[in-house]
Amino acid sequence: MEKKKVPQKSTTPKSFTKITPPASKNTSPSPPKKKPPTSKTTTTKKPTPALRKIPKISLGSNKKSSKTENEKIRFPAEELHKEELKALIQNDTYPKPPNWQLSPKMVELFITGSNEEFPLKVNGTQKKIKISTKFYGQRDLIQKSIVTLASERALMLIGEPGTAKSWLSEHLSAAISGTSTYLIQGTAGTTEDQIRYSWNYALLVSEGPSPESLVPSPTINAMREGRILRFEELTRCPQEIQDSMISILSEKVIPIAELGSEYLIFGIPGFNVVASANDRDRGVNEMSAALKRRFNFIYIPVIQDKSLERKIVLQRTNDLLTKIGFKIQIPEDTLDLLITVFQELRTGRSTSGGRFTPISTVMSTSEEISLLFDSAIYAKFFGKSEVQPKHVAMNLISAIVKDDKENLPKLREYFNMVARVRANKSDTWKEFANAFKKHATY
């Protein structure tokens, strides 16, 4: 791979070559003047994420996307927490790295939350905004992540599934860049085009290679604008595809060979990458040393602390329920039961000292949240607007067994050794045990 940098002309800022006009460093980046060809042409090879209009204000929104706001099931973090971000921006007195919309301190505050109220001025009126906690756990991890993103290195979040890696990456990007949607989802089928660029073939055929027929990737967009690129499940990509990130991370430049050796797309300051990887995949070990060296790895541990886990599960489930306008009671006992079951199944040890075969693969915090959410929905439609142990039992079986039929005997073992015994002493466990017996019929 040859990369020759184009000598910079005094009128052209260093970050852009012929392709796009300058973006001033201090204001939020504006969209490239010349839009890339849109997907009207039916021959377009792939949907182009780059078509997304770059948001006007740094709190990004996807106005151009085909769905209207109301149809969206899920908003990106920068929209969901628009006010919080605005308030933080208005009150930020700390130094900012170039092209960050917030200082590192304020990014930290956005993620960890704060009781302090920040005044927010909108249209002449003033509101007080509280910052909600987005990520629960060690503050060190957040600090190290932020520090990494402000450095030359990219950030790799690793850990077991469901430890909030994607969650953290989304919120970090939203806080730092105002957008969390420059995203590549790594799979076995991820191609280099998706990482770098592709072509609008209709234009390519009619006009030959030209800047106009180039279809930029999220990478190119993030580089041009000095934003954070998210690369989910990086290690699921084939190794040679992964390695195409090496030059992007070290040179911060993508050469467009088809447009001549002087066509280079530069990353401007602020550009960086948050990748995530599941450390249960063998992938992490197979990453090339050269690529590893471009990253600082932050390991997100599974939460051991029961009360913290409880807090997260309750908070997040309530968030989700509120979002769809439901109000459903989650009794303490039932929540306790859920957390206990998960912790015990995960470790293969009961709190009373018994041992059984653990089911560690699917017992993540996020699984807990979705299980409780599902149970709540179920309770809403078939119950008394209160989550009951039987709902937990039913959903537990389907959640755990859907993944792997082999989990059923393990679940039965747990049931026999632990749940049944507790049923004698506690009504909550009794209901759970009864429902389990009834439904565990696979």
Partner: protein, 827 residues
């Protein structure tokens, strides 16, 4: 709260905000601080082991030139001050205070010691490092000829005011950790403070506020900020705690000393500088002076070398310090007036660690170092520190180098970081300091034998049959017994193991600086090696009376030290121990010890009388052992082998025992009872095996036993594996070469069902793997023979083997003898 950094300068506003949120009366705090500020006597707050406090002390003395300096430190140890600051005293060092309550003044003998007759012993270390504010105050004062004194309660004073609590075993009194900062963590204010800034512990808080930037701070401002912080902590700490841990008593005593010295030196209040932990500084102006009675006579204060490692391990009297090496580097930067000391040390630290990591074969690049250094600085910023502290540095090192779970893939860094942050430095104490009597005795005794103790390494060969030389051996045994790391026996008879072929001992002698510290510590036991070792013997026997094995071992050591005149005392202890020890294992161990000692008593110079006593003791212990066997017919699982080993050893000893009358039937009776009572098949097999070895059981009976199992229901049948394992474990070749047994074993394997077989396979496999390889081979051949697969006469083969072996050992013996003669002359 939008200041970028926390520092002494912007602290006031923040503290008052937190105070308000907790409902603390801020004006009260203000008044307290004001009182200290307005006080004529100058109270200078410090934290122990703190470069920031040290620089404050140093600058303060320079600027204000006090005429009398009083320091929180043990009163009565003033005589050590001049040695502490001598040029060839090199920190880390410690004042060691010792007290042995020989008169039972505190009534704690028998409560804190194993017996009323054994004096309770107390010790306290007061460590000092190069960056201890107290030590720097001492050296500045001596340099400037300013009188300086320690004013805190001495060790005996501390004991005195806690003795009531010490008597109550349910109250865990941590007498010598009164300054432990753990109490600050309990302060409501501190908790809130740490929570607001997400500080991990007191250390991180203090460091952020008062260490980083201390070199550039205005000293009056720094002092005021410290006072303010401490005032808040004191105000929100439970008074009960301050009472219980003697803080209040100590303060009134300190105040008493301040008054006393003020009168003595006739100086004006404003010329007096009182240096204490900040928590005391805030209280002292209002404290009423009071003096307390305490014993001073047997109190020993001395100076000993200390180590960074120990400082990091236990905090002792003063607050702990997790990373002495690191802070020493900070202190060096302070004194050489580096502008950003923490950043400079961070950079050095990172480059050092990365160099080491590289040497250990890890791929580490320059870009890693740069990234890590920048990372540390940025982390510091996020944590509101102007410069990175150790935590920031360590975090950034892991962040940059570890590409996975730090608990697994970062393991290799742990030791590197520990080495660089804690360090291994050991201090030195000037020779000019007078030696304590025990120290003197140690050197004199060795010199009397023509040994220069401080020569680095030497070896000494002793002919035990020479009276004078055996005296030297006894001296070495005393030194060894006291745990002084000086004399190590390389060679000699190992009487307790029955290994007694030679009459020569070879000792390696090696002096090191820790020996003096140890001798000082041991001073509570006595003024001479003899006295100390005898007192320690008494203490050890009282402490271990429930373990006959240990008691007999002490008897042996006592004889090795030449204390034949002590025999009767120890004999009595042995009898006591036999009464109270009910553990078969320690009882048999003691029995073996006695048998071994008995054979050498004559050589060790014991009287006929004592030997008779010994004989009776052996007989008694034999019976006690035997009687306890049935109690252990069902030992805790996992321990079976140990019990069988002990029973078998006992049998072996009984067969070989000569000049002591012993009734073997008692043993056989006990083993028989054990066979009947046990429900553990390994024990059953083993004990049956013992009976067989002693000819109290025939092969036929064993056969019958095995068949009994074989014809039982499955749940009993599966135990046959353990039974056989027990048998083979004890008898080995003596049983399994027997054609009848082989037949039975073959039968077992032939007739047993597959399920049962798979259950007995593990113990069987274990049994055979415990055989000697040649035994195993022979067994296999015999088995093959049983099935008619091969034919061979093994009897001859065995004989040939034995003959060969005998010849071989003959040659070896000759060689060994020659070597010994070359070394030691005719043996």
């Amino acid at each position: 709260m939008s200041d970028t950094y926390l520092s002494a300068a912007n602290l006031k506003k923040i503290l008052f905000e937190i105070g308000t949120s907790l409902g603390v009366d801020n004006s009260d705090i203000d008044a307290k601080v004001d009182k200290v500020k307005k006080s004529e006597i100058i109270y200078l707050p410090i934290r122990h082991h703190s470069p920031g406090s040290t620089i404050l002390v140093k600058k303060w003395i320079e600027k204000y030139e006090p005429k009398l300096i009083l320091v929180e430190g043990p009163a009565l140890a003033d005589n050590l001050i001049k040695y502490m600051v001598e040029r060839d005293t090199i920190p880390p060092i410690a004042i060691l205070s010792l007290f042995a309550d020989t008169n039972n003044t505190f009534g704690l003998n028998g409560i804190l010691s194993p017996d009323k007759l054994v004096p309770a012993k107390f010790e306290a270390y007061y460590p000092f490092v190069s960056y201890s504010p107290e030590l720097v105050a001492l050296s500045e004062a001596i340099k400037k000829k300013i009188p300086i004194h320690f004013i805190d309660l001495p060790l005996t004073g501390l004991i005195s005011c806690s003795s009531a609590n010490l008597k109550d075993p349910s109250k865990k009194v941590d007498l010598f950790n009164i300054e432990g900062e753990s109490i600050y963590n309990l302060s409501k204010f501190y908790k809130k403070f740490a929570q607001v800034f997400d500080f991990e512990d007191f250390n991180e808080s203090w460091e952020t506020l008062f260490e980083i930037g201390a070199n550039k701070s205005d000293i009056d401002e720094l002092r005021e900020s410290m006072l303010l912080f401490c005032a808040f902590i004191r105000q929100t700490t439970d008074m009960k705690i301050l009472k219980a841990n003697s803080t209040l008593t100590r303060e009134s005593y300190m105040k008493h000393n301040i008054e006393t010295y003020k009168k003595k030196y006739k100086v004006k209040d404003k010329d007096i500088l009182v240096i204490t932990g900040g928590i005391h500084s805030i209280a002292l102006p209002d404290t009423l002076p009071q003096s307390y009675p305490f014993p001073t006579k047997q109190l020993i204060n001395s100076l000993v070398p200390y180590s960074y490692y120990r400082i990091s391990q236990k905090s002792g009297y003063m607050s702990g310090n997790q990373a002495p090496q690191f802070y020493n580097s900070i202190w060096k930067k302070f004194t050489s007036q580096v502008e950003h000391p923490y950043s400079a040390v961070a950079l050095e630290f990172i480059t050092d660690i990365f160099k080491d990591a590289r040497v250990k074969g890890n791929v580490v690049s320059i870009s890693d170092s740069i990234n890590s250094y920048q990372g540390a600085k940025m982390l510091a910023m996020l944590r509101r520190r102007e410069e990175p502290d150790l935590k920031d540095v360590i975090d950034s090192i892991y962040m940059v180098l570890v590409k996975g779970n730090p608990e697994i893939e970062g393991k290799y860094l742990d030791s590197l970081i520990q080495e660089k942050s804690i360090g291994y430095k050991v201090g030195k104490v000037t020779k000019n300091i007078g030696r304590l009597p025990l120290q003197k005795d140690f050197y004199l005794q060795l010199e009397a034998h023509g040994i220069d103790p401080e020569e680095k390494v030497q070896q000494k060969i002793i002919n035990l049959r020479e009276e004078a030389e055996s005296k030297l051996s006894q001296l070495f045994w005393k030194i060894k017994f006291l745990g002084i790391d000086y004399a190590h026996r390389l060679l000699g008879p190992d009487i307790l193991k029955g290994d007694t072929g030679i009459f020569t001992e070879k000792w390696s002698l090696k002096w090191n600086p820790r020996i003096d510290a140890k001798l000082v510590e041991l001073s509570t036991y006595g003024a001479t090696l003899e006295e100390a070792s005898k007192n320690m013997l008494v203490e050890e026997t009282k402490k271990n009376v429930k373990n006959f094995g240990i008691i007999t071992n002490l008897l042996f050591q006592s004889l090795s030290m030449g204390y034949t005149d002590h025999f009767k005392d120890l004999h009595k202890e042995c009898l006591n121990s036999l009464e109270v020890d009910n553990q078969f294992l320690s009882l048999t161990e003691g029995f073996f010890n006695l048998i071994m000692i008995f054979q050498f008593m004559a050589m060790m110079g014991c009287s006929k009388d004592d030997m008779d006593l010994m004989e009776q003791l052996i007989q008694r212990s034999y019976y006690t052992c035997c009687f306890s066997i049935p109690n252990f017919a069902n030992p805790p699982s996992g321990d079976e082998v140990k019990y069988i080993d002990a029973m078998k050893m006992l049998a072996n000893t009984l067969i070989s025992i000569q000049n002591i009358e012993i009734d073997l039937n008692v043993y056989i009776e006990s083993i028989n009872t054990c066979v009947e009572n046990t429900s553990n098949e390994f024990i059953k097999g083993g004990t049956v095996g013992i009976l067989y070895l002693l000819n109290y059981m025939k092969v036929k009976e064993i056969e019958t036993l095995i068949y009994e199992y074989l014809n039982s229901i499955d749940s009993i049948k599966v135990k046959i594996g353990d039974l056989i394992r027990g048998l083979i474990y004890v008898c080995q070749a003596k049983l399994i070469f027997n054609q009848d047994i082989i037949r039975v074993l073959a039968k077992v394997v032939e007739t047993i069902e597959w399920e049962v077989f798979s259950a007995i396979l593990p113990p069987l496999r274990k049994a055979f793997s415990e055989l000697h390889p040649t035994e195993y081979d022979i067994f296999v051949e015999k088995l093959a023979e049983h099935y008619g697969l091969i034919k061979r006469k093994h009897a001859e083969l065995m004989d040939i083997v034995e003959e060969d072996v005998k010849n071989f050992f003959k040659i070896v013996d000759e060689k060994v003898k020659k070597i010994f003669e070359e070394w030691f002359g005719e043996v």
